[in-house]
Amino acid sequence: MNMSYEEYGKLVKKCSPNSPIFKTVPLSFLVGGTICAIGEAFRLWFVSLNMSKEHSGIWVSVILIFATALLTGLGVFHKIAKIGGAGTFVPITGFANSVVSPALEFQTEGFILGVSSKMFIIAGPVIVYGTIASIGSGIVFYIIELFGGNI
């Protein structure tokens, strides 16, 4: 075969269908928007019950995580995710699914080496880099405060 890698790469690109973005982008907007609106409905309800801002936010997360876990267990979540794409994995539902799905899958390897150790194979980096970034911003905040700044 007389062909450079670049040439072959171009041929592959020509022969490979692209994701239909005229479909995926509106769907991700609809699904993601709906999930956020559901969260907002709960939040407004909690606030109307005189719950604090902080606590209402936490309960919204917990409810969405619970719903995701249930739908993941029932085998429904990935069907919604197939339609929603980023609309389901960018909200907290995606985080919850990425924790619950390996936990479910690795049952066969036991609860220590399977379920619990595989639980963070996808979500682990999110927590690691979220924490590192928060520490980084914390250092900056602290220095600003040291020099009398207002954070």
């Binding site: 692209n18 994701s19 973005i21 995926t24 982008v25 991700s28 907007f29 609809l30 993601g32 928007g33 709906t34 999930i35 956020c36 609106a37 969260g39 907002e40 407004l44 936010g57 936490i58 919204v60 997360s61 876990a69 249930l70 993941t72 267990g73 085998g75 197939k82 794409g85 980023a86 609309g87 994995f89 960018v90 909200p91 907290i92 995606g94 985080f95 919850a96 990425s98 924790v99 619950v100 936990a103 479910l104 049952q107 379920v115 639980m119 996808i122 979500a123 999110v126 880099y129 979220g130 924490t131 970034a133 928060s134 520490i135 911003s137 914390g138 900056v140 905040f141 602290y142 405060e145």
Partner: protein, 121 residues
């Protein structure tokens, strides 16, 4: 009426944040895991420089439910902890703020693994 407007704002802002993720997914070779990391770190950064708070005030859950909101939560947590406890807050603040979400996910992960069986797509 206020409720409807709040819901529409949450829907639109949340949807738009997801659309950014969808573009990254379809147009780049980034995997979902990398995109999620990017969103959380972006949330921490935007929270720290004060850009994300107005979005949260405007859209409520539309800004806090996406993972950028998780990042924002971490940076707010650090900020509060430093104000209250000084230098130790740098280490304490982030995970303390995110603890409820992480604990809920862990608990439900174990429960789901106890109850359900995995199925084919």
């Amino acid at each position: 009426m206020d409720i409807v407007i709040s819901l529409i704002k949450a829907f639109c802002v949340g949807g738009l944040i997801c659309v950014v993720g969808q573009f990254l997914l379809d147009y780049t070779k980034l995997t979902p895991a990398r995109i999620l990391v990017g969103f959380v770190v972006a949330g921490v950064f935007l929270g720290a420089i004060g850009i994300y708070k107005p979005i949260v005030d405007f859209a409520g859950s539309g800004a806090t439910v996406p993972l950028t909101g998780f990042g924002y939560l971490l940076s707010e947590g650090v900020k509060e902890a430093i104000k209250e406890e000084g230098i130790v807050g740098i280490l304490k603040g982030g995970l303390t703020a995110g603890s409820a979400g992480i604990s809920a996910a862990v608990l439900l992960g174990i429960l789901v693994a106890l109850i359900f069986k995995p199925k084919k797509k």
